[in-house]
Point group: C2
Chain length 166, copies 2
DNA sequence: TATTGTTATACTCTATAACTATA
DNA sequence: TATAGTTATAGAGTATAACAATA
C-alpha cells in the first residue's frame, strides 16, 4: 500500500493536502465552538431577514417577549435574564418606548426602579412578531429534521449552559 | 377547579405569573436561536479564558489551525473558509505576522496573491495551542455527557448549516 | 452604604467603498 | 475588465466607570 499524502507530509499548496505540521491540530469540523458559532450566525441571519420588514432585532424581540409574558418586571431583572448589561439596556428600551411598543412605569414601592409593560400597540405587535418567529423557527425545525431533533438540540445546548460554574 | 393565574390573566409583577398577553408568545427556552447564542457565548468565554495566557483569540486560533493543516493557501481562501471578509483579514494576519507565528510569501504564479505559512515558531505555537484547545474541548464534552453527545450535537449543527441556500 | 437607572466612553467585530498592482 | 490585497471608515454589540436619585 502506498502512503497517503497526510502520512508522507508532502503538502501541495492550495489543494486538499494535509501538512505534517498538522499533527494534533483539529479540523474546523470537530471544533464545537466553531460549529456553534457558524450555526448561530446562520440562524440569526435568517431571523434578521425574517424581521427586516418589522425592523426588529434579536435583542428587541427577546425583550418584548419577556415583557409580554411577565409584565411589571424591573429593567435590571429583564436585562439580567438576557445577559444584557443594564447600561446597554437603556438605549434598547428607549427605542421600544419611542416606537410606542413598551413603556416604563414608576414602580409602586421603589421610586428608583421602573416596571416595564407593553402598550396596547405593543401587545398587537408582539402577536404579529410571534407569528413571524414561528415561521422562522419552523424553517429551522425542518432543516434539523423534525421536532424530535429540535428537542435533542435544545437539550444538548442546555447541558452546555446548565451549572454555569463547575 | 380554580382557574390558574395564566387563565385569569392576573399578572403579579416580578413573579412567575404569565400574562394573558402571552398567548402564542414563546418562552426563551424554546427559541433555538437564543439557546444557540447563549451556548456559543458560554463556549467562547471558556475558550477565551483558556487562551488568555497565550493571548490568542478564536479567529486567530482558526487561522493558525487552517494554515497548519494546509499551508500555502491564499489569504482570500483562508478568509473565505472562515467567513471572514478579506478586508478584515488583513489586520488579523498582520498580528500573526508581527508575532512571528505566520508569514506571507510571494505566490509563485500570481504576483498579486500571498501564500500563507507558519514560521518554525508558529509550528511550535500551534502544537501548544492544540493541547490547550483539547483541554477546553474535553470540558465541553464532559458537560455534554460524553463523545456520543458531542457527535450528536455536531451532526445537528451541520444540519442547520448544510445546504445553506434552500 | 448599596442599588436603579443613566450617561459617556472605549474596544471589538463586522460591513462597505475605494484604491493599487497585478491578471 | 476582473481579482488579491489593502486602507479607511462606519456601524453594531459589548464592557467599564462614574454620577444622581433613592433605598
Amino acid at each position: 500500500m502506498t502512503k497517503n499524502i497526510a502520512e508522507t507530509g508532502v503538502a501541495r499548496p492550495g489543494q486538499d493536502a494535509v501538512s505534517v505540521v498538522a499533527q494534533g491540530i483539529p479540523t474546523m469540523n470537530e471544533i464545537i465552538g466553531y460549529k456553534l458559532r457558524r450555526a448561530q450566525l446562520f440562524v440569526f441571519q435568517d431571523f434578521i431577514e425574517s424581521f427586516s420588514k418589522m425592523k426588529l432585532r434579536p435583542a428587541e424581540f427577546s425583550v418584548l417577549a419577556l415583557i409580554a409574558r411577565t409584565p411589571g418586571q424591573k429593567q435590571t431583572e429583564i436585562a439580567g435574564q438576557l445577559g444584557i448589561k443594564r447600561a446597554n439596556f437603556v438605549a434598547l428600551m428607549d427605542g421600544l418606548e419611542r416606537r410606542g411598543l413598551a413603556e416604563r412605569r414608576k414602580a409602586v414601592g421603589d421610586k428608583r426602579s421602573h416596571s416595564l409593560h407593553l402598550t396596547p400597540e405593543g401587545v398587537r405587535f408582539a402577536q404579529k412578531m410571534s407569528a413571524v418567529w414561528a415561521a422562522h423557527e419552523q424553517r429551522l425545525v425542518d432543516r434539523l429534521g423534525g421536532p424530535e431533533a429540535r428537542d435533542t438540540l435544545l437539550a444538548l445546548l442546555d447541558r452546555i449552559l446548565d451549572l454555569k460554574e463547575t
